[in-house]
Amino acid sequence: MRRTWSYVVLTAALSVAVAVWAVPHLEGDASTRVWVEGSSLLGVSLATHVDALAAQVLLLAVGVGLLVQIYSTAYLGHHARYRSYALVIILFLFGMIAVVAADDLFVLLIGWEVMGLCSYLLIGHEWQTAAARSGAAKAFLMTRVADLGLLVGILVIGQTYGTYRISEVITQEPDNATAIGLLLLVAVVGKSAQFPLHTWLPDAMPGPTPITALIHAATMVAAGVYLVARLMPIFEASELVMTLLAIIAAVTMLLGALFALAQTDLKRALAWSTVSQLAFMFAALSTGDADAGTDHLLSHGAFKALLFLGCGCLMHAVGSSALSAMGGLRLRMPVTFWTMSIGFAALAGVVPTVGFFTKDSVLHALDHGRHEGPLPEGIAVMLLGVALLTSFVTAAYATRLWLLAFLAPATTDRAGLSTGSRSEHRAMTGPLLALAVASFALSIGQPFHLGMGVLSTLVAAAGVGAVLMVWRRGHSLDLDAPWLTSELGLDRPYASWIPSTTRSSARAVVDVDRDGIDAYSHGSVRVAELASRVLALVQTGNVQRYATVIAAGVVVITAAAVIWT
C-alpha cells in the first residue's frame, strides 16, 4: 500500500500548489505572468493568465484529479501497471493545467495534445482487451485529426492579430472571426465529443472507470467548452460560427440523451449523458453567455465524476458494467447508493443540487438568447425547445438508470457479495462523499431565475414521473427501438467507411507503385541488360583485334583531321 500512497502524496502536493496559485484569483482579479520570454523568431513564450474562470477550472481539475488518485489506490492499486497509470494521471493534470492557465496559444496547444496522449494511454491501460485497444486508437485518431483545426486556427490567429497571447488577442477588434472560429470549432467538436465527432467517447469506456471520471467526464472533454469560453470575443463576432455551434449543440444534446435512455450498459449510458451535457454547455456558449456554460462545466464536472466513480464502485462489486448484472444494490452498497442518488438528482436537475442551478442558468441564457446575442431568433427558439426536451429525456434516463442499478430486483445470485458497507472500500467511498458534498456546496451563490426554474423543474418532474409510472406498472424499462440501440448508425462512417476507403486507396497506391512506377525501374534494368549483351559481342578477349580497332580509329581520326583542316 505504501507504494500506491506515494503517488497520492505527489498528486496532493501538485493539487496544493495549484490551489495556492489559483485561490487568490477566485474573486476575479486576473493576472498575466510571463515565466519564460520567447525569442523573436517564434514569439512563443511560457505565459500564464489566471482569472476567476481559469482558477475555478484549475481547482476542479486538481480536485477531481486528487480524488480519482485516492480512489484508484483501492480500484487499481494491486494492478501490475499501477505505477505507469498513476504517473500518467499526474502528466495529464499537468496538461490540463497548461491548457487552463496558458496565455500563449502554443502552450495551450501543447497541453491540449498532452491531454490527448494521456487519454490514449489511459483508455488503453487494459490493452490486453481488444475493445480497449481499438477504443484508445479511435479516441486518439479522432481527436488528433480534429486538433489540426486548433493548430491551423492558432496560425491564423497569429497571422491576423500578430500575437499568440490570448490576453492580447481577445482585447483586439475581432478580425477573420469566421475562419478562426470554424477552425477552432473543429478542434472543440473533436475534443468535446460533439456531433459529428462524438462516437469516440462511448467507445472510450473500456478504460478504467476512474479515468473516465477524470478525463472523459470532468476535465479533458470540458476543455473544449473552456476554450470557447476563453476565446468568446472571437466566436461571438461571427454569427455563422455561433449558429453552427448552436445547431451542433442541439443535435448532440438530444441524440446523446436519447442514446443514454436506450443503453443497457450503465457506463456507456453515462458516457452518452456526458456527450449530451457537454452539448448543453455549448448551447449556453452559443448564445454568448460564457458564464452559464462554464458554471455548468464546473457542476457537471463534480456530479458526473461522482456518477462515474459510483459506477466504478458498482462495477467493482458486481464485476460488470451491464445494468442487467446490477439491481438490488441499495442495501448492499448504501454509501454508493446515497451518493449516486445525489449525482443522478443533480443530473436530472433536482433542487437544491448544483445541477439544478446551473441547468437553470443555461436555460435562462438560452431564453435570453432569443432576444439578443449572436444567434438568429429561429435558431435560438429551436435551441431552447431542444434544451427543454433534452431536460425531459435527461430526467427520464437518470431515473431509469437509478432504478435499474439500485431498486430493480437482483437478477443474479450475489452470495459472494457481503452486505452493508463492508463491500465498499473507504478509499472509494471517501471521494464519493466529497463529490456528493460538492454537488450541494457548489450551489451556494448560484444565480436563480424563478420562471425558468419552475419550468425546468416541471419538465424534469415530468421526465421522472413518466419513468416512475412505467416502472410502477411493472413494465420493462428497456427501450427496444433498434434505431436507438444501434445509435442511428452514426459510427458507421468511422467504423467502416473511412477504414474501407483508406484500405482501398492504399491498395490502389500499391497497384500504381507496382505497375506504374516500378515499370520504369524494371524497364531500365532490361535496357541495360540488352545493351550489355550487345557490347559483350565486341569483347572477344583477342588483343590483336582490339589493336586493329585502335589502329583503324587512329586512321579514321587522322583522315578526318586531314580532310577538315
Binding site: 578477349g541 583477342n542 588483343v543 590483336q544 589493336a547 586493329t548 589502329a551
Partner: protein, 100 residues
C-alpha cells in the same frame, strides 16, 4: 631528292609492319612487324634530318639510338618467344592465349 619518296616508302613500311603485328599469329612474325615499324620511323627521322639540314643532325643521332634500342628489344623479344616455345611447344599467339 624530294622528301616525298622516303616518306612514301616509310609509310608503306609502317603499314606492312602494322599489318604484320595485327594479322599474323606467329609471335616471331609479329616481332618482325614491330621491327619494320621501328625502321619506318628511322627512315622518317633520317629523311627529315636531311630535309631540314640540321647542323647537329639530331635526327641521325636519334636514329642510331633507336637502332640500339631495337637491337636490345628484338633480343629480349626473341628470348621470350624461345621461352614460350619451350613451355608450350608453340609460338602461335592464339593457341598460347587459349592454352593458358
Amino acid at each position: 631528292m624530294p622528301l616525298l619518296y622516303p616518306l612514301v616508302l616509310s609509310a608503306a613500311l609502317f603499314g606492312i609492319g602494322l599489318y604484320g603485328v595485327l594479322a599474323r599469329r606467329n609471335a616471331v612474325m609479329m616481332l618482325l612487324g614491330v621491327e619494320l615499324m621501328l625502321n619506318a620511323v628511322n627512315l622518317n627521322l633520317v629523311a627529315f634530318d636531311a630535309w631540314f639540314a640540321d647542323q647537329l643532325h639530331t635526327g641521325q643521332v636519334l636514329t642510331l639510338f633507336t637502332i640500339t634500342i631495337a637491337a636490345a628489344e628484338i633480343g629480349l623479344g626473341l628470348a621470350i618467344v624461345l621461352a614460350l616455345f619451350r613451355a608450350v611447344r608453340t609460338v602461335d599467339v592464339d593457341e598460347v592465349g587459349a592454352s593458358s
